[in-house]
Amino acid sequence: MVEQVPIARTTRQLIEETRARQDALAQVQGLMAQATGTAHDDDATVEVTVDARGKLLRLRLAPNAVNRGADRLGSLIVEVAQSAMREATQNSYNKVALLLGEEMTYLIERLSGMPAPARTEGVDSGLTVEEFQRRRDERLAGQRRNVPVPARIPQPADDGWESFDPATLRSDR
């Protein structure tokens, strides 16, 4: 909430405040440029680091990554990069919030059209790349050229609770 306070500032004060805010804003770009995010798939065959704009900074493929096959590996790299970018976006807003405070950061999020992932409704931060991919495949079923919806390879039983998808519960909607 913004509290309403009567304006009783001199022009000089206003100019100084504006200047201070400009200085802070000038640092935002630098902070955002420094932010990076890293993500990997469940099996850690693909690990990607990107900056807050999404630029690829590092890509590590485990020796067995090639066993996934050309199509699957290509789309997995893209999905992991997108997860990494969500991390980087969150990281950059965390840095900006330290500098400018929460309110100003929220304003920047709205201006940039890129809400911080932690604030995005419906994004479960625990969503694994595999799960993200499965949901995307479902969405794109039939739309994608020459890629039939990949049959979901059953995961070994040691998947445990992390892979449990609450969306399968009827009450999740």
Partner: protein, 131 residues
């Protein structure tokens, strides 16, 4: 300066920013989806990125995978650098005419830079392997 002058000036700045925003959106809409692409000489690996360099598509062939994970990763890194420069160049060319000299500096700061004619835009042919 009276408060009303300050308000008027603030309103003028906001209006200018709004106009520039609308113009930029229109230009970007006309230009369509901006992306950059790069591929190995033999077409075994193709990489597509968005304006900031985020991977949007990686197409591999089985032939590419035969060179092993490490080589594939290095090739994708190299191709993504080239694709990012191409996407930045397109972004610059769409937005720079509307922004003028000050705006050009902003675009460069954002990583959207034009590729000059004599720049070596092609990814190096050697070391990218594959056949």
């Amino acid at each position: 300066m009276a408060d009303s002058d300050f308000d008027r000036e603030a309103a003028r700045v906001a209006e200018r920013a709004e106009r520039a925003g609308v113009q930029a959106r229109e230009r970007l809409d006309r230009a369509g989806r901006i992306s950059g692409e790069a591929a190995t000489g033999d077409g075994a690996i193709t990489v597509e990125v968005g304006p900031g360099g985020l991977l949007t598509d990686v197409r591999l062939t089985n032939a590419a995978l035969r060179s092993g994970s490490e080589v594939v990763a290095a090739q994708i890194m190299e191709l993504s650098r080239t694709a990012t420069r191409r996407a930045g160049d397109r972004m610059y060319r769409v937005l720079a005419p509307m922004l003028g000299p000050g705006g050009e500096r902003q675009l460069t700061a954002l990583g959207y830079e034009p590729i000059s004619e004599d720049d070596d835009d092609e990814p190096p042919a050697t070391g990218l392997g594959g056949r």
